[in-house]
């Protein structure tokens, strides 16, 4: 697939996203107002979250040196949720940016722990890595559920954690630009991440400060995950499925593949969001649920298609 067709498809999705929804867009002042306050911010939020999560996913896969991990399942996402719950309980009046900071720190700690565990796993068992990550994320999720249950926050957590764009309006999504900025930073350092993905020894031989690149990658993954979890909720499978497809289309040189990867991620999330708006019109299906079905299906296909053996 060429860049041109990829971005043409994305432009089509953006147009559809601006026009489709519960309300009808008319060519007058009201219609413009609807687009400016609701549809355009919503579209931007989906694009930013999708692109940033796809980039975070590919960096996570380079850090863990495994194609089957993504931040949402290996503990980064659940940890961000746990940080959010902790802040809600300890300092309910704290401003949003402070909550986001707490979520980011929790995400950072959990990702570091996960990477330490990965180092202890036998290198010949690549599928143990995602498995361990999923169980680790499950434990963090159980802790969150426990704390939330004891404090009657279960429903609040459920709503907060399920990825959804229906609440996005002008003034309610702008933190997502932070995630977009982190993704741009990743593009600036793309060559170093590509080398770091070849492993520690190879990186050192090529004169790369492996530790620094790892730290930068950890930071980018944590910021992107925490910001998306706090502003729109958990969007599963984006960071997992998109890098795998982008790698098949464009290879593993990040400098070349990142634009296509970001476009694919943005398109996937926006497409699923539009689908969620249409499926059950005029009600809405949260994009997190739609992604759960579609993403899991694609992942199973990736896992069992012949190419998957080249893990």
């Amino acid at each position: 697939m060429s860049h041109r067709s990829l971005f043409a498809g994305l432009a089509l999705l953006i147009g559809a996203s601006l026009l489709i929804g519960a309300g009808e867009v008319r060519a007058d002042g009201d219609g413009l107002w609807l687009i400016a306050v609701s549809r355009a911010p919503r579209t931007a939020a989906a694009l930013l979250a999708g692109a940033a999560l796809a980039v975070a996913g590919v960096i996570m896969q380079m850090l863990a040196r495994n194609r089957f991990v993504e931040p949402a399942t290996v503990g980064t996402g659940p940890a961000a949720g746990l940080g959010l719950v902790a802040m809600t309980l300890l300092a309910p009046a704290a401003p949003l940016w402070l909550k986001m900071l707490a979520a980011t720190l929790a995400a950072l700690a959990a990702t570091a722990v996960f990477l330490l565990m990965v180092r202890r796993l036998p290198p010949r068992d690549p599928l143990l890595v995602p498995l361990t990550g999923i169980v680790f994320g499950g434990i963090l999720g159980a802790v969150t559920t426990f704390v939330a249950y004891e404090n009657d926050l279960l429903q609040y957590i459920d709503i907060w954690m399920t990825g959804e764009f229906s609440g996005v309006m002008l003034g309610r999504y702008e933190f997502l630009w932070l995630a977009g900025g982190a993704a741009l930073l990743a593009y600036a350092y793309a060559n170093r991440f590509t080398i770091a993905g070849m492993g520690e020894e190879m990186s050192r031989t090529l004169g790369l400060s492996y530790g620094q690149v790892m730290a930068l990658g950890l930071g980018i993954v944590s910021v992107v995950t925490a910001v998306t979890v706090v502003t729109v909720g958990m969007l599963p499978f984006v960071g997992l499925v998109v890098p795998n497809i982008a790698s098949r289309l464009r290879g593993d040189n990040l400098r070349q593949s990142l634009p296509a990867l970001a476009a694919l991620g943005a398109g996937l999330v926006l497409g699923c969001d539009i689908l969620g708006r249409v499926i059950w019109h005029p009600y809405e299906m949260p994009v997190g649920t739609v992604l759960g079905v579609i993403g899991a299906g694609v992942f199973l296909w990736l896992l069992h298609s012949p190419r998957a053996h080249a893990v």
Partner: protein, 313 residues
């Protein structure tokens, strides 16, 4: 000392059952024993169902980190329940009655599990890929259930909610007796096959050499496993990692590989664990949270321990 392990587990179960029945008791003993006795029976039934299904499943698939719940069997049950409410409507669903619904759901599950099982046996060589498939399959089923649950009328959603979270507050009386009967019957059947399980545990090739038709025996046992999973999920909802916790503890303290010991031992351990932690939660800590949340976290930790402890072969 296998017999000592059994006696120890039996004593632990008796002690926790006694504590569960008597601790913090006030008021009319007749009512209290009846009320708590029913809960005790339900907890023990669920424990036994989870333990036996996990152990048998691990023996026929020949590994220690796979359990029916990890492979998505529980999610399958929830999904079938949601689909039934979605298709029949809450009233239609409720008018069927507990027994027919349970029978219908179990039949559907056995059919689906047979398909899954054929898949499992076909790819027995690559266990990790299989586990990952199971987990993602579980996520897929849960997302599908969530998708349908969104479209169900809120007043009818209660039927679904009861099935989709592990909880232990209201156990349906009719269902409990069905469950007890099924677990007793299936338990006896499985125990009668203990020797065959011993042979199956040696692997497909050895089992065939020793004259056990591996595929046929494994398929029959898988039906029993599915029945047990259906029972425990119907009673308390999906519990993912508890079976793993139980089987790990069982192998650790059994000191034997004979299923005649392993099977009852695991059932006792599971029941004792469930009853003891429920007692601790309800009576001692007076927490309102579902005990399964903590058990899930513990089971997950056991999994990480099992995986990280393994030295490269």
């Amino acid at each position: 000392m296998p017999s000592r392990a059994l006696i120890l587990a039996g004593a632990a179960y008796a002690a926790s059952a006694l504590a569960f029945l008597t601790l913090g008791a006030r008021g009319d003993w007749g009512f209290l024993l009846l009320f708590r006795g029913e809960k005790l029976l339900a907890l023990s039934t669920v424990g036994a169902a989870v333990a036996l299904s996990t152990l048998v499943f691990q023996t026929i698939t020949g590994n220690r980190i796979l359990t029916p719940a990890i492979m998505g069997f529980d999610a399958l049950y929830v999904m079938i329940q949601t689909a039934l409410v979605f298709l029949l409507g809450g009233v239609g669903f409720a008018s069927l009655g507990a027994l027919p619904v349970f029978a219908l759901e179990t039949a559907l599950m056995v059919a689906a599990a047979t398909g899954l099982f054929t898949f499992v046996m076909g790819r027995g060589d690559d266990m990790n890929r299989l586990v990952l498939t199971g987990i993602v399959f579980g996520i897929l089923l849960r997302s599908l259930s969530a998708l349908m649950a969104r479209m169900i009328d809120p007043s009818e959603y209660a039927y679904v909610q009861a099935a989709s979270y592990a909880r232990f507050t209201n156990v349906d009386g009719d269902l409990l007796w069905i469950a007890v009967a099924v677990v007793l019957a299936v338990g006896a059947l499985v125990l009668a096959q203990a020797r065959r399980l011993d042979v199956l545990a040696l692997g497909r090739a050895t089992a065939l050499t020793l004259g056990v038709a591996h595929e046929r025996a494994a398929r029959r046992l898988m039906w029993l496993v599915t029945l047990l999973v259906a029972v425990s999920t119907a009673l308390v909802g999906p519990i993912v990692f508890f079976g793993l916790l139980v089987s790990a503890v069982t192998y650790q303290i059994a000191g034997t590989w004979r299923h005649a010991v392993l099977l009852p031992l695991s059932a006792l351990i599971a029941a004792a664990l469930l009853v003891a932690s429920q007692t601790l939660f309800e009576r001692v800590l007076s927490l309102q949270s579902s005990v399964f949340v903590v058990i899930e976290a513990l089971g997950g930790l056991v999994f990480l321990y099992l995986v990280l402890r393994r030295t490269p072969r």
